[in-house]
């Protein structure tokens, strides 16, 4: 559970830092009059903050699964799965998708609508390929006899890749909406900047999914296991 507590400590740390900028030392009973936000502090768009809070929630979800994984890892009956070659390819796809969205974001700043459309479509295709790739990995493993219930390592593998995959699918829904908006819009900055904002949110979410995937992949491949072991020994 140390992992999830550490993750929460980071979240709480960010919250504490933010609170410390909110005049929590003020004495409201002595203050009369309008208090405005300090000039120059441009408020973030609401949707972006909403996404940030959601990422904290999703982050806890993954931190908890990783916590559970690392607790279970120590038992003697844990036989790690082989790492299918395809997982490397899938990882590459997800990195490309993330990079594609970042590139699209840069293009949207230059108001290059065609490039934005192209970037969105390619990110979508790459991500879809990632999801299909993951499903192929599942089939391969099942074909080789690594069933969900035959070993805890397998169960955790399917559970964590499944959870991640569902989050990717959810992201694809959002991406589809942004893409359709890009194809109906006449210019990038139209609709009160809705397209640009949606693009930015998608990019953030994709980077998050990529980081989560890299951590999960490291765990599955067994490198993180050694790391956890070292941490555990350092603690005890």
């Amino acid at each position: 559970m140390i992992i999830v507590v550490a993750f929460l400590a980071i979240v709480i740390g960010i919250a504490a830092w933010w609170l410390s900028t909110q005049r929590i030392m003020s004495k409201p009973w002595l203050e009369i009059g309008v208090i405005d936000e300090p000039p120059g502090a441009r408020p973030l768009p609401t949707a972006k903050i909403g996404l940030g809070v959601f990422l904290a929630v999703a982050g806890v979800l993954f931190a908890l699964s990783i916590s559970a994984y690392s607790m279970r890892l120590q038992a003697a009956d844990w036989w790690p799965l082989p790492v299918p070659r395809l997982l490397w390819f899938n990882t590459g796809l997800l990195i490309l998708a993330s990079a594609a969205l970042e590139w699209t974001k840069a293009q949207s700043r230059h108001a290059n609508l065609d490039a934005v459309r192209f970037g969105l479509i390619s990110a979508g295709v790459l991500t879809l390929a990632f999801v299909i790739g993951q499903l192929v990995v599942w089939r391969e493993l099942v074909g080789e006899g690594y069933f969900l219930a035959s070993n805890p390592a397998n169960a955790f593998f399917y559970l964590m890749t499944g959870l991640h995959g569902l989050h990717v699918l959810g992201g694809l829904v959002a991406l589809a909406r942004v893409t359709s908006r890009a194809f109906s819009a006449d210019e990038v900055g139209g609709e009160r900047g809705g397209l640009r904002l949606g693009l930015e949110l998608c990019a953030i979410y994709w980077h998050f999914l990529l980081v989560v995937w890299l951590v999960l992949f490291a765990l599955i491949a067994g490198w993180a296991g050694d790391f956890i072991e070292i941490c555990r020994q350092a603690l005890s």
């Binding site: 002595l30 809070v53 559970a68």
Partner: protein
């Protein structure tokens, strides 16, 4: 005087971007699939209160079995465990969490902050419908073969999904699915509550000017967002264990000579996940109650809240600390004694900010102009009850005291006092307080007083004796004492007494339900601000507030929410949106 840029009388209207409201087109989108936070709040509250009544009746049946074993033929051991499970789960998750965050959160956050609505109204609407779906699934489990699960509200594996526990076939699956739906729905609502506080405040409403109610609900929402995923992960894993044969939580089990296909799972892992959610859950319920009670006391004692800053810090500190105390629910799980020591220490530390809050409530009352209105009665009763329940919490927080008391009626008495009765008292107080804003009419006072005294005294008559039963060693979760009935006759008599009281108090809630319905038509007209309170929800131009809450322009906030009895002011309260009065600046020097 702190240097604050002064808003003159003619300040320009709020610079907060006015949101574009969704405009309902038909009766259906207006009242049923509504995106208005106030309607969603009423939907949440009515649903949660109805479930509360059902859960109350389940507890009646349990009490009848405990007092008169075998008197009701349809309650066998299986049924008893199903009653326990459903009563606990309904009350904790589907009543208290939903009512405080979904009900009060939705109603009060936008109004108190001077916002037109929540920031994501569509997700807000979905949140309620997910909640309702979760409730439907939960209740459907009464109708499936084998009935609902009887695993206890903690759903501990392995017994939750092994033979012998009622509801193995369907009940447990429905329960897990229902919880997962609830969590998804709550996440949508919770995002709304948090982001609305961050983004939706009107001009001048700084964080440190928010009423404590909003602080409580805000912090609790953040906690719930971070804690519910633990339950979600636990539910998913157990569902895998039950349906797909994995062994996340299931150790090797030999059942009547045959070895089950499970092996190697860790039941303790589930306990960690469950209580990582379960302990913050206590404060998810308690913090909104703290906040609401602070406001009720301040308004009805006509006095500013004592130590506002301290109250805010205490709420935040409790919220953060509550994430590192979960293992005090697991002292008897065989964990490393050093862990027990750590968790006992953090548990006792959390008593400090909590005690600060209690002192501040009492100091707010000190020399206040106390009006014993019905909401105030409930608020005062909350303080007493919370202190009572909190003190036994200190007992149980110590490992050496907890081990002998674990799984006795003492624990039942403790948590019913601290997170059953205490928050329910606040809920009642809050409903009596805000009902006039929701409906435009006051609840009947004589009925309210009757309801209060029976509920308050009755709750003590029910739960105080349980402490004694617990100290005698009477275990919880036992359907009857049977052959091991080594307890004196007095314990049995006490059980009968408790049951009679439970029946009476439960029946008295009908007075409350009747009051709610009757006053809708026949209550006294309340006007916009019957309690002469400062916070923004009482300053709406129209009562009950229409869609969009405030008139053409959003209010501008010039002061905090507790300006009662300000010397030199024309009235004994100054609303938050009242521009500075002549000479007021000079009188407020530190």
């Amino acid at each position: 005087m702190v240097d604050v840029p002064l808003g003159a009388a003619g300040v320009p209207p709020a610079e907060v971007e006015d949101v574009e409201l969704y405009h309902p087109k038909s009766w259906l989108t207006h009242y049923v699939f509504s995106q208005d936070a106030k309607i969603i709040a009423v939907q949440y509250s009515v649903t949660a209160l109805s479930i509360g009544l059902v859960a109350l009746m389940l507890s009646w049946l349990m009490r009848l079995q405990l007092a008169f074993p075998g008197a009701l033929s349809f309650i066998d051991a299986d049924a008893y465990y199903q009653l326990i499970t459903m009563h606990g789960m309904m009350m904790v998750v589907y009543v208290l969490t939903a009512l405080f965050l979904g009900g009060f959160g939705n109603y009060l956050i936008p109004l108190m902050l001077g916002a037109r609505d929540m920031v994501f109204p569509y997700a807000n609407m979905l949140s309620f419908w997910f909640y309702l779906l979760a409730v439907v699934v939960l209740f459907a489990s009464f109708a499936v073969p084998g009935g609902p699960t009887g695993a206890g509200w903690t759903l501990y594996p392995p017994q939750a999904i092994t033979a012998g526990t009622p509801g193995l076939a369907w009940g447990i699956i429905m329960m897990l699915v229902s919880l997962m739906i609830f969590i998804v729905g709550f996440t949508m609502g919770g995002l709304n509550y948090v982001v609305t506080v961050l983004q939706g405040r009107t001009r001048g409403m700084t964080l440190m000017r928010m009423p404590l109610t909003v602080w409580g609900i805000f912090t609790a929402s953040v906690m719930a967002l971070l804690a519910f995923p633990a339950l979600f992960v636990g539910c998913v894993m157990m569902l895998f264990d039950r349906l797909l044969g994995t062994s996340f939580f299931m150790p090797e089990i030999i059942e009547q000579g045959t070895r089950l296909p499970y092996g190697g799972g860790s039941p303790i892992l589930f306990q960690h996940l469950f209580w990582f959610f379960g302990h913050p859950e206590v404060y998810i319920v308690a913090l909104p109650a703290f906040g609401i009670v602070s406001d009720l006391i301040s308004v009805h004692a006509r006095r500013n809240i004592f130590g506002y800053r301290m109250m805010v810090w205490a709420i935040v500190a409790i919220g953060a600390l509550s994430f590192v105390v979960w293992a005090h629910h697991m002292y008897v799980s065989g964990m490393n004694p050093y862990f027990g020591f750590f968790f006992a220490t953090t548990t006792l530390i959390i008593a400090i900010p909590t005690a600060i809050k209690v002192y501040n409530w009492v100091l707010t009352l000190w020399r206040g102009d106390i009006h014993l209105t019905v909401p105030m009665l409930f608020a005062l009763a909350f303080i007493v009850t919370f202190v009572n329940g909190g003190l036994t919490g200190l007992f149980l927080g110590n490992v050496v005291v907890d081990v002998p008391l674990s799984d006795t009626m003492f624990v039942v008495a403790h948590f019913h006092m601290v997170m059953g009765v205490a928050p329910i008292l606040v809920i009642f107080g809050a409903i009596y307080h805000w009902y006039p804003k929701v409906t435009g009419r006051l609840l009947s006072v004589p009925l309210g007083q009757f309801h209060f005294w029976v509920t308050f005294l009755g709750a003590y008559l029910i739960f105080f004796p349980m402490h004694y039963l617990g100290l005698m060693g009477v275990p919880r979760r036992y359907y009857e004492m049977g052959e091991i009935a080594i307890y004196p006759q007095s314990a049995h008599d006490l059980n009968i007494f408790i049951t009679v009281m439970a029946l009476l108090v439960g029946a008295a809630q009908l007075a409350f339900v009747f009051n709610l319905i009757w006053s809708l038509r026949h209550g006294r007209e309340a006007g916009g601000n019957p309690w002469r309170a400062c916070s923004l929800e009482w300053q709406t131009p129209v009562t009950p507030p229409p869609h969009g809450n405030f008139g053409k322009e959003l209010p501008i906030v010039y002061r905090w929410a507790y300006d009662y009895h300000v010397p030199g002011a024309p009235e004994d309260f100054i609303p938050q949106n009242q521009p500075p009065l002549a000479g007021e600046m000079a009188s407020r020097t530190p």
